[in-house]
């Protein structure tokens, strides 16, 4: 297939790169050896947050360099780091209520509902909605909406109220998971059985038998439908 070349501007400097590359691979094509700004390269880690705009357009856009195709006329810069504050807390001493956020991340309550965070999110998460859920004390909802957050920090950088949304999001999820979500009774039961040594003998037996016997047992094991 013929590779159509496009013109991109990395930190303002022009490079011609094949149009089928992502922003990340285009930077490598141009000659950069990336140190900051690349992590999982699959859209899961938030290391490659990138701000860009298109030629002759004033609007700043944000996305992940590893998941975004380059386009002709892209002006881009990668963010090496987001210096937003992450508060220190002991999860065991917190209560799953609005007061916890008022104390730990009070800036959430300055949200002006401008929705800039949502527009900046490369995951298309309704960021403002989860900030508002936190403000209302609806931790379950905040946890649910923020769940797909990869903590790239783009929301925080764009926020006029200087909220660190992604840090509040992980706190909401941990509070929900620890205090509000129903626990798995079967897990606790098995842990207790293991502590009593209940499964020790059966496993020890498997460790001792010959490879041949083990193979027979493996072949004849029944399978849950």
């Amino acid at each position: 297939m013929d590779e159509e070349m496009v013109r991109i501007y990395i930190m303002g400097k022009e490079y011609k790169v094949p149009g089928n590359l992502t922003i990340l691979t285009a930077m490598e094509y141009a000659g950069y050896q990336v140190k900051r700004g690349a992590g999982c390269r699959e859209g899961f880690c938030g290391a490659c947050a990138t701000v860009y705009r298109m030629k002759d357009d004033y609007k700043l856009k944000a996305d992940l360099a590893c998941q975004t195709k380059v386009e002709d006329g892209m002006y881009l810069a990668q963010l090496p780091f987001v210096p937003a504050q992450k508060s220190i807390y002991d999860i065991n001493k917190l209560k799953p209520e609005v007061g916890t956020f008022q104390e730990i991340y009070p800036e959430n309550f300055k949200c002006v509902s401008c929705n800039t965070c949502t527009k900046a999110c490369p995951q298309d998460i309704e960021v403002m909605d989860y900030v508002q859920a936190i403000v209302r004390g609806d931790i379950k909802k905040a946890a649910d909406i923020s769940f797909d957050c990869i903590m790239c920090g783009l929301c925080a950088l764009r926020c006029p109220a200087e909220i660190s949304q992604y840090n509040a999001g992980i706190l909401a999820r941990r509070l929900y998971g620890k205090y509000l979500a129903p626990r798995a009774k079967h897990t606790r039961k098995r842990i207790e059985e293991l502590e009593r040594g209940m499964w020790e003998d059966e496993v020890n037996k498997l460790m001792k038998i010959s490879k041949k016997e083990l193979k027979e047992k493996y072949k004849s094991r029944d399978k849950e439908a």
Binding site: K35, R41, L171, L194, V203
Partner: protein
């Protein structure tokens, strides 16, 4: 090129065939293979059995053992540093336990060390959490349901690994598993559950019970984010040094581990850490692109820890086997090689060929499933993409027929989002896949407390070997990093209380260099790799005054 719904016309012709057979395939499956059929298939089609895949290592504690070529290139290589130039009298960081690598294993090791009242420092090449753990989508295994038991889990693990796994490690893995799930619950990690709290669990390839616990298709991500948050909440006990890969270990004159040399990627300084024990948790080798395969692995997966540990005397196991994940993306080009979680097949998607026909049981252990997909393409039944790559359809709309409309977007938000970026709606159309380099089955040999043959050196996670034998099952790697990360943290914090190593030396590195000099190994072959080399040859030709040390500029 004419495109509709993300695919070319030629691809649509084949998709129509897939659609035409879909209803008749529903509820029917190819039978799973017997052990014997599986072995036969592997020998003919699995990349591990390709001639010339491995070679015997010429040097070091596992001299004579076969390892894959790309790993041998790292082990048969000169250090980044000249021991004569390093001033070990200057100590830049001091700690009790040094953890090298900040993924799932490293962070759990640090948390357990801290919990035991011992100071710990994590040195990591990229950011804390830049690791394969972050990208694991499908789930984590634990036998915590009524119809399941650690013994059944044990059988699945050891059968999947072709009965070569180290039994004491398998025991540790399956016996600790339920407690690990409980630990994550206590840390506040969110799992997929029923209304009453029961974990929603599914099958993975090669499991005989539904024991895959998940958090949508961000399971590893949510684990990693939770562990990272917890580590950052303990700044007094856990020091974190990012963008500072370790390039060499330090041993005292008796051979006890007592620190490492770090390389500050930004200032390009070499810095010394003094410690009483070291835990290596540097993860796997996907970025070595074994046999030129694309990989699912993160940017830093270059097996650095393996090189350091080997030079210090740690023995290796199972490094002649490599895991190729059956379902890597084969299209569109921008995401080729990236992971398509096995949980997609757990939920009911199945591989079909270019004609829309079934040809394999969808949930074989990974090595067998991958070999079957390769065989189908070699039989001429693959779908060719515009770049000439050939793949197999993974019929995802089946999930919506089985689990209801909207279930893909709800349960696989990451996969759905990724494909929608390229205009592919996987709830309505199949996606194209082909095996991709996924996991380092082997690594440094450990005991069940993660100790190695080198005193004070502990190893956990993907860079260790023996837990999974010759093939790992889905969901046992997230489990592995947490089980053995914890075990390493516990064992190291106990060990450091009774030991005071002497002055750090690089004696073992000097000896390694001497041994290298006796061979014909080229002097410009440098390890650890630190970062993969993605600079084009064209660019390099013009970088006239740049100096490369291995892959690093």
């Amino acid at each position: 090129m004419a495109m509709k719904g993300g695919y070319t016309d030629k691809m649509w012709d084949s998709i129509k065939k897939v659609e035409a057979t879909r209803k008749s395939r529903l509820g029917k499956q190819q039978p799973s293979m017997s052990l014997e059929e599986g072995e036969k298939l592997l020998k003919k089609y699995h990349p591990d059995y390709k001639k010339g895949n491995t070679r015997k290592i010429k040097i070091g504690p596992s001299k004579g053992d076969p390892v894959v070529q790309e790993v041998a290139n790292l082990l048969e290589a000169y250090p980044r540093i000249d021991p004569e130039k390093i001033d070990l009298s200057r100590v830049d960081y001091k700690t009790d336990v040094l953890v090298i690598g900040g993924g799932g294993a490293g962070t759990s090791a640090a948390l357990l060390t801290c919990e035991n009242g011992v100071h710990v420092t994590i040195a990591t090449k990229l950011r804390l959490g830049d690791a394969n753990t972050m990208m694991a989508q499908g789930g984590i295994q634990a036998a915590d349901k009524e119809n399941d038991s650690p013994a059944i889990h044990y059988l699945d693990v050891i059968g999947g690994g072709h009965f070569d796994n180290k039994p004491e490690l398998v025991k540790a893995l399956v016996m600790d598993a339920p407690r690990i799930i409980g630990w994550l619950e206590d840390l506040g990690m969110m799992f997929d559950r029923e209304e009453d709290g029961t974990m929603i669990t599914r099958h993975g390839g090669g499991t005989s019970r539904k024991r895959m616990h998940s958090a949508r298709d961000y399971t590893g991500g949510e684990i990693m984010k939770t562990l990272r948050d917890e580590a950052l909440n303990n700044p007094k006990g856990i020091e974190i040094i990012e963008f500072s890969p370790a390039v060499e270990l330090l041993l005292d004159k008796d051979g006890k581990t007592c620190g490492a040399i770090l390389f500050n990627l930004e200032t390009e300084e070499y810095l010394t850490v003094e410690s009483k024990a070291v835990i290596i948790t540097t993860g796997g080798f996907g970025r070595l692109h074994i046999q030129k395969f694309p990989t699912t692995n993160h940017y830093g997966a270059t097996a650095d820890g393996l090189v350091l540990g080997y030079r210090a005397g740690a023995k290796l196991a199972f490094l002649d086997t490599v895991q190729y994940h059956p379902t890597g993306a084969a299209y569109p080009e921008q995401i080729v090689g990236q992971l398509v979680t096995e949980k997609i097949r757990s939920a009911g998607a199945e591989p079909v060929n270019v004609h829309g026909e079934q040809f394999v049981y969808p949930l074989e252990p990974r090595d067998i499933e991958a070999a079957a997909l390769i065989r189908e393409v070699e039989r001429g039944n693959g779908m060719e993409t515009p770049t000439g790559m050939k793949g197999i359809w993974l019929d995802t709309p089946l999930i919506e027929m089985k689990e209801g409309k909207g279930s893909i977007e709800k349960n696989f938000p990451a996969m759905f989002r990724q494909n929608m970026r390229f205009d592919i709606n996987m709830a309505k159309t199949p996606i194209l896949i082909y095996p991709t380099l996924h996991y380092q089955n082997g690594g440094m040999e450990i005991s069940s407390d993660c100790s190695t043959s080198v005193p004070g050196l502990y190893v956990a996670g993907e860079t260790s070997g023996g837990v999974h034998g010759r093939n790992r099952l889905m969901g046992n790697s997230l489990l592995d990093v947490l089980v053995f990360g914890q075990r390493a943290g516990k064992a190291a914090s106990k060990y450091v209380k009774g030991v005071s190593p002497g002055k750090p030396t690089l004696k073992h590195v000097r000896k390694y260099i001497k041994d290298l000099e006796k061979t014909d190994i080229p002097k410009d072959r440098i390890a650890p790799m630190v970062l993969p080399d993605y600079t084009r040859g064209e660019t390099k030709k013009r970088q006239l005054t740049s100096h490369y040390l291995g892959t690093l500029r």
